[in-house]
């Protein structure tokens, strides 16, 4: 028990460091990507080449800033908001495996746990909006609430589709089932999972309140939305939470659809051999592969953000309730009917690998 606790503590420290460092990297990347897309160079001077110390300089500036709590604000809620947002986004990492069995907490229901704790992130945003005692902040918070509550539904439905195919909620097992060449990835499993990936990614972008769904901030109409009244370190907590959850939802997408930590070019037997005989090599390579895949997805989110204009709030709701939700329902229905139809029409002829019952080790007792 205590050994397990120590391992958990170490894992927590490593994860906090990872989340903070990747937020630093992502903020720099965001500036560079935005610059390039807008035909600028982005940061170039701080830290020599490519302005790679820009975020560190920003961080020092944020640390040195005065911490202001407006007189109108509800102090308790105002202080609580950033911590709640960050906690929600960070807790998801507890169950996110970075490689085979490299995970802080082996959970049978890791996927469900991640979705559940990431849903708490919105609470911080709404508290910030309400507690600021400012109408801009309140508007931003309310929009965020409406948006997240609606987008969670199609997102959860899309997540269910690969789970139906995999037969388990254990991310470790789901990723392990996709070992081998890239056509084993669940995105290429059948048409429904292919479409589910894009629907999921859209909903995930919205749930991270990234443009074109960043109505909670909407600086052209709401000053800065829910974080109008925040400054300094409290403000930066919201950004750590945002970049943290961007990586986390990309991690879920990678696990469910894009083969997890598998390269997609090395056959399963070879990677299994490496796992058995050269375990450290396997772990290092697979962690790098997984993080790279997630980074590519985060990069796509940035690319979309600086390419598309922001939607109006009614368009955001229409996109969710009139388009994404029916699409997700149809996909879920199709994905559940497909194995049935397939096995009835082609009995024993072509076998799609539908895994049922679940493939995790049988429970003792």
């Amino acid at each position: 028990m205590s050994i397990q606790l120590i391992i958990l503590l170490i894992a927590a420290i490593v994860l906090v460091t990872f989340v903070a460092l990747s937020a630093i990297f992502f903020i720099w990347l965001e500036r560079k990507v935005a610059g390039r897309i807008q035909d600028r160079l982005g940061p170039t001077r701080t830290g020599g080449k490519f302005g790679w110390l820009q975020t560190v300089a920003d961080g020092i500036k944020l640390l040195a800033k005065e911490d202001i709590i407006p007189a109108n604000a509800d102090q308790f809620l105002f202080r609580l908001g950033p911590y709640l947002a960050f906690t929600g986004s960070f807790l998801a990492y507890l169950a996110l495996p970075f490689s085979r069995d490299v995970v802080a907490l082996q959970m049978n229901i890791a996927l469900f746990f991640m979705l559940a704790v990431m849903a708490t992130e919105v609470f911080g945003v709404i508290l910030a909006g309400y507690g600021s005692g400012s109408k801009w902040a309140l508007f931003g918070g309310m929009r965020e609430a409406a948006q997240v509550v609606s987008y969670e539904v199609p997102m959860a439905l899309c997540v269910l589709i690969p789970v139906l195919t995999a037969g388990t909620l254990n991310l470790n097992v789901i990723s392990q089932q996709q070992a081998g060449l890239f056509w084993n990835w669940y995105i290429f499993h059948d048409p429904f999972t292919f479409l589910a990936f894009w629907t999921y990614f859209t909903c995930a972008t919205a749930s991270c309140k990234r443009a074109p769904f960043d109505l909670a901030e909407a600086e052209s109409e709401l000053v800065a939305g829910f974080h109008t009244e925040y400054s300094g370190l409290r403000w930066s907590f919201f950004f750590m939470a945002e970049y943290g959850s961007m990586f986390a939802v990309s991690g879920i997408a990678t696990m469910l659809f894009l083969g997890g930590w598998h390269t997609g070019v090395i056959p399963a037997t070879i990677s299994e051999w490496i796992y058995e005989n050269l375990w450290p090599v396997y772990v290092v390579v697979s962690v790098l592969v997984f993080i790279t895949k997630c980074w590519i997805l985060v990069f796509i989110m940035m690319w979309v953000r600086w390419t598309l204009p922001r939607l109006r709030i009614d368009q955001v709701m229409t996109t969710c309730l009139k388009y994404l939700l029916p699409i997700a329902c149809v996909l879920l229905l199709g994905a559940s009917v497909l194995p049935l139809v397939w096995h009835t029409v082609f009995p024993g002829w072509v076998k799609l690998p539908f895994r049922n019952p679940p493939a995790y080790p049988a429970a003792p007792r």
Binding site: F112, F113, L127, P358, P361, A363, P364
Partner: protein, 217 residues
């Protein structure tokens, strides 16, 4: 006293403290936040007991539920900023009576329960020994050979065909047990009724437009 026990006491005491704060806070949104912490603390207790699925469900359902409560119950109905809530003496009396009754019920069931069947530690040493969702599903279908045993519901159930068809059951259960399936279905139908009712109550009231008969020219 193991680490699990210490954690249990810490989380339990904090949950209880938050629950007290829910009652004594007058500021209504803060009250909802304390409620959120209470429910999250309960989820933490579930995680400590190795009930991952229950804990995650608790987080998922109640965090969302409190969110909707805060937004629609409080923010949209408040008449001024930072609404205060003052309870009258009668409300206090009713609340205390109901609370004491509930406490008595819990205390009685604690006194009369047979604690000898429980495992020694709250948390199994081996994480693989924790309850799985598969066991939960089998218990739902009335298999008494798995934990948690479904003897509570008191509804005579039978093993579903799905269980036999999948061939997962190695040994037949000791007896035809009462299943959670029927109460589960009743509750879900009940929730559906509530949903339809809520949608009916909340729908936009259309004004009757009385079209005046057109005067013939």
């Amino acid at each position: 006293m193991s680490v699990g026990d210490i954690l249990f006491w810490i989380v339990g005491l904090m949950t209880a403290l938050c629950a007290v704060m829910v009652v004594v806070t007058q500021h209504i949104v803060r009250c909802a936040i304390w409620l959120l912490f209470t429910l999250a603390g309960t989820a933490g207790l579930f995680f400590l007991l190795g009930l991952d699925f229950l804990g995650a469900t608790q987080l998922f359902v109640y965090v969302g539920g409190t969110l909707v409560l805060v937004i629609f119950g409080v923010m949209l109905t408040a008449t001024g900023p930072f609404l205060q809530l003052r309870a009258g003496a009668g409300e206090w009396a009713i609340a205390i009576i109901v609370g004491l009754l509930l406490y008595g019920l819990i205390a009685l069931s604690w006194l009369f329960a047979d604690w000898s069947k429980l495992p020694e530690s709250a948390l199994p040493d081996d994480p693989r020994q924790m309850y799985h969702t598969e066991q939960l599903g089998r218990a739902l279908l009335g298999d008494t050979s798995v934990q948690p045993a479904s003897e509570l519901a008191g509804v005579p159930g039978s093993l579903g065909a799905a269980d036999k068809a999948s061939g997962k059951l190695q040994e037949p259960p000791k007896r035809q047990a009462s299943a959670f399936l029927l109460p589960f279905e009743i509750v879900s139908v009940h929730l559906l009724v509530v949903l339809i009712g809520a949608a009916y109550l909340a729908r936009a009231k259309r004004k009757r437009v009385v079209v005046a008969p057109r005067e013939s020219l």
